[in-house]
């Protein structure tokens, strides 16, 4: 939703393929060279399926839209589904804002249609089915890690139902993402990995990177401006950051072949648009890096509050592939200087304290805007085994108490549901706001520990959602039809943009017993009981008699001697 790329170049490129039966497929790849020398590649595949879904019609004939997901939507009456699998942590301060943010591990949030009566039961079934589709451990999502955020996750598609009873949100920060998750994800694409941009998705390269995130977003969208017809939109995104030292052996030179060990030869024949964008905003004269082959097509778009310039390669045009019939984009850095724009909002989180009884969660939120303050929504979902002391919650900015204007807190229930804390906090300009809350670690039952309990227990990322003031608030495009009296000051209505920031997940140690202890304890207790019981039993059942004291040793020896002499004993 945050990426509104205007297709300015799209006018003169007549759509090659007309939409077939209300189905449409588009693919694109955005490459952004990062100042650190790393490179960020973001794939997006969008399938639109025109169908009337709100009336609960049973739709069962699929063309471009994958059947497995279509069945999931219609069986569980899903209105919106967002799922992401991420390996690695997005370093906002080094890499800037990602196009699609996602927390480490797996994240799933679903809006159900208001016809669903048993939302929790449906959610449980849905997670089990999705876990089968994506080969992930989503079946570990249960009531202990599911929350219903009241404000943070609003529907991204059409429909004005915002009753959060129909929303479920869960994260699995421990989830490890690998090839087995990528393969089913690729299978959802109409061309699979046989043609188009998806041929670049080779797992041996994608997982040899600093950051890898793949996601599936399903939502209802409008087909036209008046929203007369609706359709399902399936967006499959894949973001990957390749490391300068790891993948490029320290050379500041990137190519498609170096990144993916493949080059491109064709677009997916089913795609109505297939493009590669290269972010050349910081490189207007080519003094930072050089891109070859050069392209005359440029596109400008406002992305995350910043006006960016992209070189565009249209894969549906045969000329893009040149005489060698293959496209291998080359980006060669000339200088390693220059600095990227600092992100206006970012956040950190850590656990403080010592010992195994209590601790303190610190969340730091940075507002780097020089003169504007803006509100942020902070969502924290903490498992029940960290018992939050909510009276110790403090929010401070610039050394002063900062009172949140909205707090939604749902206390946990042991083994049933997690803590949910949502706050609306105003971040003053150029400041750090610190949220701290103390907690106590609970003792788990011995079957509740994970297989490797000394590794620690993960606590999911905090989610910070905000409308950040945009740097480019100016609307210089005065060509649009507007009344003259309203068009003198070039001010745009959307002067802020939506950003979601995820903090690091926490790793918390809980008091861990020695797991061979139960048997030792049983043996020890039993022995103690047996010894006590034995002596008591002896006391009760033995009969005591007075016995003649036996003669001493000297006397006995004397008696033996006397016997030998034939004298009567003593």
């Amino acid at each position: 939703c945050a990426t509104g790329i205007n297709m300015q170049a799209a006018h003169w490129l007549a759509p090659r393929m007309t939409r077939q039966c209300g189905n449409d497929f588009q693919e694109e790849l955005v490459i952004r060279p990062l100042h650190s020398g790393d490179i960020y590649a973001s794939f997006q595949f969008r399938t639109v399926w025109e169908t009337d879904f709100m009336r609960g019609n049973k739709v069962s004939h699929y063309r471009l839209f994958p059947k497995s997901l279509g069945q999931v939507i219609s069986k569980f009456s899903v209105r919106e589904l967002h799922i992401s699998f991420t390996q690695g942590y997005w370093r906002t301060m080094q890499w800037g804002q990602p196009f699609q943010p996602s927390p480490p591990g797996a994240e799933l949030w679903v809006w159900f249609q208001d016809s669903v009566t048993d939302v929790d039961g449906t959610w449980k079934e849905l997670t089990n089915v999705l876990s089968g589709i994506f080969c992930a451990s989503l079946n570990f999502i249960d009531s202990t890690n599911t929350v219903q955020p009241s404000a943070s996750f609003k529907p991204l598609g059409i429909g004005n139902e915002t009753d959060h009873r129909f929303l479920r949100y869960a994260t699995l920060p421990r989830e490890i993402v690998c090839t087995e998750n990528l393969t089913p994800w690729k299978k959802l694409l109409p061309c699979g990995s046989k043609a188009g941009l998806a041929v670049l998705l080779k797992s041996e390269k994608l997982f040899h990177s600093s950051f890898h995130s793949q996601a599936v977003h399903i939502r209802p969208v409008c087909q036209d401006w008046q929203c007369k017809t609706t359709s399902w939109e399936l967006r499959q995104t894949l973001n990957v950051v390749f490391d300068l030292h790891n993948s490029a052996q320290g050379k500041r030179e990137w190519s498609l072949f170096k990144m993916f060990s493949r080059t491109l030869t064709e677009a997916c024949p089913l795609a109505s648009s297939s493009k590669i964008y290269i972010d050349i905003t910081d490189n207007p004269q080519g003094e930072q890096f050089e891109v070859s082959p050069a392209t005359p097509l440029l596109s400008q778009a406002v992305v995350l509050g910043d006006r960016r310039t992209f070189s565009v390669y249209d894969l549906t045009q045969q000329i893009t592939f040149g005489t060698v019939r293959s496209l291998n984009l080359l980006i060669r850095w000339k200088s390693s200087e220059g600095d990227m724009l600092r992100p206006l909002l970012h956040a950190e989180r850590y656990v403080a304290g010592y010992g195994l009884q209590t601790g303190e969660i610190h969340t730091l939120m940075y507002n780097n805007h020089p003169y504007r303050s803006f509100p942020v929504l902070l969502l924290d979902s903490v498992p029940w085994y960290l018992r939050l002391y909510i009276h110790t919650l403090t929010v401070t900015s610039k050394g002063k108490d900062n009172k949140p204007s909205y707090i939604h807190y749902q206390p946990s229930k042991d083994r049933l549901r997690p803590h949910l804390l949502e706050m609306l906090v105003q971040l003053p300009p150029n400041s750090v706001t610190e949220v701290t809350v103390q907690f106590e670690r609970a003792l788990l039952k011995w079957t509740e520990y994970t297989p490797d309990p000394n590794h620690g227990f993960y606590v999911g990322s905090s989610v910070i959602s905000s409308l950040v003031p945009s740097i480019v608030a100016m609307d210089t495009n005065s060509t649009r039809e507007r009344p003259l009296f309203s068009s003198f000051f070039p001010c745009k209505e959307e002067s802020s943009y939506f950003v979601r920031v995820y903090t690091e997940p926490l790793l918390v140690n809980l008091p861990t017993p020695d797991f061979s202890m139960p048997y030792n304890v049983i043996c020890l207790t039993c022995t103690v009981v047996a010894v006590g019981y034995g002596s008591l039993y002896n006391l009760l059942t033995r009969s005591f008699q007075i016995e003649e004291p036996s003669p001493g040793l000297a006397k006995r020896i004397a008696n033996i001697i006397r016997k030998m002499r034939g004298v009567p004993p003593l």
């Binding site: 077939q20 069962s60 004939h61 699929y62 063309r63 471009l64 994958p66 059947k67 497995s68 069945q71 999931v72 219609s74 069986k75 089915v129 089968g132 589709i133 299978k187 109409p190 061309c191 699979g192 046989k194 043609a195 064709e266 024949p269 089913l270 048997y519 049983i522 043996c523 039993c526 022995t527 009981v529 047996a530 010894v531 019981y533 034995g534 039993y537 002896n538 009760l540 059942t541 033995r542 009969s543 005591f544 008699q545």
Partner: protein
């Protein structure tokens, strides 16, 4: 100091008594697993179940088939003027159907005079689309004087009709073959019985259009319309048997697992029947499992060969082209190869738009669907004429046949499930049996008994209904997750935990009891000695 000894003995005895009266029951109760009551006796009865099927057969004699003296014995006389103006057996069949609606599972056999021109010369028996058959009475059958003799003459013919229209011994054997090992039949009949899907309360039918070459072919198929026209009538007819759901998908870049061989004599690519077995696996990976239900899936694939491998023909064992260019895989589905190279010339601009002729495709798929659902179409005995298929693709008696065999199969499946569950629970004492499982088992047993009773009474519809309920309840009980709970709590571990406590506590008690007994014995011996 006898009283002191006596007191010790009493203390030891009372401690032993406390351990036995209080300790043992307490230990037993606290470590016991909950096991609800199961109808074990009834389950054991089910294990050696005798199935008896009975079907109502109504024999109607047309005028002129019964002599007057035979007619006297007929208790009720209904004179029906049999279709005076009918010229073909089909019309007669339809008009007879309007006369009397026969219930599911029953048959009406109309005996018509030898002179009737309704049936062609060499045909003795005509089997209609409903539950009726026309039987021409032979000359030699009229020799009997009494009605009993006449009926006795007719019996072998009626038996044949029954075997065609309701069930035969081989059908029932085939239905049971999965569950019960009967005498091994010949290879072909086993293959036949393995072809159809097993009985299930529901089926998912998936039509997939495989287009391995979207760069050359842009294939369109009107699957919605075709399903409505060709498949839905059959499924509506089969509705009492199971729930069906239909969906379709288009898969691009889906390849067959084998490379077709180029046959230069025919300038076409060929797939041999030996290699067909390898076709399915790579395709199946793309088909995707059904996410929304656990019912068996019937796959029907329409494969449009890519431009470089067209035309593609399937060859049978005798190296002959298969006319339908299709094959089916038992209990899996069917594949049809649809060549499109004839639709465009050599100078065509790719991609070519191609509309698929759905009538041709659906004809093949419908035939495969009938086979896979187990609608048997075995050759009728000589002298039999079977009415052509109706618009629904399924005659009433064919549905009945299916229902008979499915009911028997359901009963067999549910019985084996329940008996093996009972056996399992009997063998592993550690499994908790909750009340809901006991309830499922009981309801399955009740439904089974009802189904068997209804089969005996000849009420096919009810029998099928009960057998389906039995299957559902038995499967739910068998696959209940709570039945796995204490499996990993073996006895040796339990003893390892008990021994440190029980050994030191029981040894003194046992020793003192032994001592008391031996002392008592010695005392008695002393007393005896004293007496002597």
């Amino acid at each position: 100091c006898l009283s002191e000894r006596r007191r010790g003995q009493l203390a030891a005895l009372s401690i032993a008594a406390v351990v036995i009266i209080v300790g043992v029951p307490l230990w037993w109760r606290t470590t016991e697993t909950y096991r609800a009551w199961l109808p074990v006796n009834q389950i054991n009865e089910l294990a050696n179940l005798q199935l008896q099927l009975s079907a109502d057969v109504e024999v109607v004699f047309a005028r002129g088939t019964v002599t007057p003296e035979q007619q006297k014995k007929v208790p009720t006389q209904v004179v029906i003027s049999l279709c005076l103006f009918c010229s073909s057996p089909l019309e007669a069949d339809l008009s007879l159907h309007t006369l009397s609606e026969s219930p599911c599972g029953s048959l009406v056999v109309y005996v018509i005079p030898e002179s009737s021109t309704l049936l062609p010369e060499d045909v003795d028996v005509y089997i209609g689309q409903r539950r009726t058959a026309l039987l021409r009475i032979g000359a030699q059958m009229r020799v009997g004087r009494t009605l009993e003799q006449l009926l006795a003459h007719l019996e072998p013919r009626i038996k044949q009709v029954l075997q065609v229209m309701s069930f035969s011994h081989t059908d029932i054997t085939a239905a049971l073959s999965d569950r019960v090992r009967l005498s091994p039949g010949n290879k072909e009949s086993i293959a036949d019985s393995m072809r159809a899907f097993k009985s299930s309360p529901g089926y998912e039918i998936t039509f997939s259009l495989l287009n391995p070459d979207p760069k050359s072919h842009r294939v369109h198929w009107d699957i919605e319309g075709a399903v409505q026209t060709y498949i839905q009538p059959l499924l509506t007819k089969l509705a009492p048997l199971a729930n069906f759901s239909i969906d379709s998908q288009t898969l691009y870049y889906a390849m067959l697992g084998v490379n077709p061989r180029y046959d230069s004599s025919r300038s076409a690519y060929t797939l041999n029947s030996d290699s067909l077995a390898h076709v399915i696996n790579p395709v199946e990976a793309r088909l995707g499992s059904n996410a929304a239900s656990s019912n068996p899936v019937l796959n029907f694939l329409l494969y449009v060969p890519d431009a470089h491998h067209s035309p593609l023909h399937i060859h049978d064992h005798k190296k002959q082209e298969v006319l339908s260019n299709a094959f089916h895989s038992p209990r899996w589905g069917g594949i049809m190869v649809y060549n499109v190279n004839g639709f465009y010339g050599p100078e065509a601009v790719f991609p070519v738009d191609i509309n698929i002729n759905m009538a041709k495709v659906m004809g093949v798929f419908l035939a495969q669907l009938r086979l896979l659902l187990g609608v048997q179409s075995s050759a009728p005995p000589p002298g039999f004429l079977v009415a052509p298929c109706s618009s629904t693709g399924l005659a009433d008696w064919e549905l009945d046949r299916l229902m008979w065999s499915r009911t028997v199969e359901n009963v067999a499946t549910a019985t084996t499930t329940i008996t093996s569950l009972a056996q399992l629970l009997d063998q592993i004492g550690n499994i908790v049996i909750n009340d809901n499982i006991a309830q499922q088992v009981s309801s399955a047993v009740t439904s089974l008994q009802l189904a068997v009773a209804e089969l005996e009474a000849g009420n096919l519809g009810f029998a099928l209904q009960y057998s389906k309920e039995a299957i559902l309840a038995s499967e739910r009980a068998f696959f209940d997750p709570s039945l796995l709970h204490l499996l990993y709590f073996p006895d040796d571990q339990k003893f390892a935990i008990y021994i440190p406590l029980f050994l030191p506590m029981c040894v003194p008690i046992l020793l003192s009891l032994l001592k008391i007994v031996s002392e008592a014995r010695q005392k008695r011996r002393e007393r005896q000695a004293k007496k002597d």
